[in-house]
């Protein structure tokens, strides 16, 4: 990898220890991915926020580097473990809360916007076409590449943090070119967001860095987010390219049979004790739609609804949160279903959700049963 003279001197430590570490990360990542150089980025989105995932080692690391590290470009943040507004309603111990707040403080000290959201593409303005960004949240990287005309690789927590501090990323892979290894033909009729989530999960399994995809009809926001979330869960692939692709590109059908295979892999029970909506977090459109669907109805069991804080504030002003709370929803900002400490197998046997991403982590990390249903089916079966 070619470095400029200035970059070389930063790597040698002439711009301080933090810069040196950040450059070491970018160079190691760049060499590992055959990058030719570093290029400027305009926006970084960091993962590695939830104490449940980064643990003591992560908390200590962030506490140390935040003494000197400052981000150079706009930098936003993934969800953490709880919503401070209602954490006392859940069984979260004091150690978890204080370690999580320490992580929050460290990021704020570095100048990171405390957005605690996995849908930065929905709550911030999208920069102009082809802008290079560095997104570590997989669903956000896929959404940015596929639907927002931005360019990012599927960054790690560390490469995104280093990119935020330096303002550059290694120029490799999807930043440079698309080489879809396969074309997926969508063959399932009348798809719901659950179908699109399974399609994404399937695509992540067969895709390398990007895939062609054909046969998609008009999709709403809930469906596009579900597809990106599904793909980010099952592999390293980070881009959908819409169309049939070259004639010599391998083709594969996503049909009822493939869909059933994925359903069987992730759906482990026929009934949940609680419901979760959100992973990715819900945006204002989805909240408005949900409030409409719940008019005159109430959930018969607990329903956790995850959304970004900015959306919660807007939804409260408009009156949606009142409507949702009346229908029995628990509104949670700053956190999400994925890797949530709020759901534990000590008090929950199984969860009903429409999220493939949520299902994967609930099953594999939280160790609870999963019941998959589309949102309209959930409203029909679980409300009165």
């Amino acid at each position: 990898m070619e470095l400029t003279r200035d970059e070389e001197s930063a790597l040698k430590g002439e711009h301080g220890e933090i810069m040196q570490m950040a450059y070491r990360i970018l160079v190691a990542t760049g060499e590992a991915t055959d990058a030719e150089k570093l290029i400027p980025i305009e926006w970084a989105h960091l993962s590695g926020v939830n104490y449940n995932t980064i643990g003591d080692a992560g908390e200590e690391f962030l506490s140390t580097v935040s003494k000197d590290a400052r981000v150079k470009v706009k930098t936003t943040l993934n969800p953490m473990g709880f919503d401070i507004d209602n954490v006392s309603n859940y069984d979260i111990d004091q150690n978890f809360i204080s370690k999580q707040l320490s992580i929050k403080n460290s990021y704020e000290k570095m100048g990171v916007v405390p957005s605690f959201s996995c849908i930065p593409y929905e709550i911030y303005d999208i920069p102009k076409s082809e802008t290079q960004v560095a997104f570590a949240e997989s669903n956000a990287a896929i959404h940015a590449n596929s639907f927002d005309d931005l360019k990012t690789n599927k960054e790690s927590a560390f490469s995104a943090l280093a990119s935020a501090i330096v303002g550059k990323s290694p120029y490799s892979s999807l930043r440079k070119e698309d080489k879809p290894n396969i074309t997926i033909r969508m063959k399932v009729k009348n798809p719901s967001e659950l179908t699109y989530g399974m399609l994404g999960f399937f695509a992540g399994k067969v895709g390398d860095t990007s895939v062609n995809i054909s046969g998609l009809g008009e999709m709403d926001k809930r469906q596009t987010k579900a597809m990106c979330g599904g793909m980010g869960t099952s592999g390293t692939c980070a881009k959908f390219i819409f169309g049939e692709g070259d004639s010599d590109c391998e083709k594969i059908d996503f049909d009822e049979k493939e869909m059933q295979n994925i359903h069987d892999e992730l759906n482990t029970v026929e009934k949940g004790d609680i419901i979760t909506l959100g992973s990715p977090q819900l945006g204002l459109d989805e909240i408005s739609d949900l409030a409409g669907k719940l008019k005159g109805r109430s959930f018969q069991k607990r329903c956790m609804v995850f959304l970004p804080r900015t959306v919660k504030v807007q939804a409260r002003k408009i009156g949606y949160t009142n409507e949702l709370e009346r229908a029995g929803c628990e509104i949670l900002s700053d956190c999400c279903t994925c890797l949530s400490p709020l759901i534990s197998k000590d008090n929950v046997d199984a969860v009903t959700t429409n999220s493939i991403k949520g299902a994967f982590y609930l099953k594999n990390s939280n160790g609870v049963g999963v019941n998959l249903k589309s949102l309209s089916q959930i409203v029909e079966d679980e409300t009165r």
Binding site: M21, R24, I25, V27, A28, T29, E31, A32, T33, G48, T53, I54, G55, A57, G58, E60, F61, S156, A157, F158, S159
Partner: protein
Amino acid sequence: MNKVLVSGKVEGIVLKSSDPINFLGTVNKKTGIISDKNHDLFEKPVKNTILLFPSGIGSSVGAYTIYSIKSNDAAPLAMVCQKADLTVATGCALANIPLIIINEEEFASIKNGMKLSFDTESSNQIHYQ
């Protein structure tokens, strides 16, 4: 052609494994001892060795474990892998542990217990003693 992911200069004794290493689950972050019963380095400390293994596997959060063993003075002097993976690459970058990727033949030729000196800036990066 060797690939230098994190540069540096060290000298030490090789600890070689033919199993990949999952730093998150199987390396004690205080002692640097491998705790996975099924691993060929079970109960061996990685501290102050030149750790040779095929590649890292598992969650990228494992990079924090590499940083932790370095902070706890239990880290290898350097790592040598056959395949680059981002968890070990970023972990070594965080902790400033030299990391070099070598080809299959060279990997096979290095034996456990060998003494090596290792200088990523020199043309002959790995020197056998």
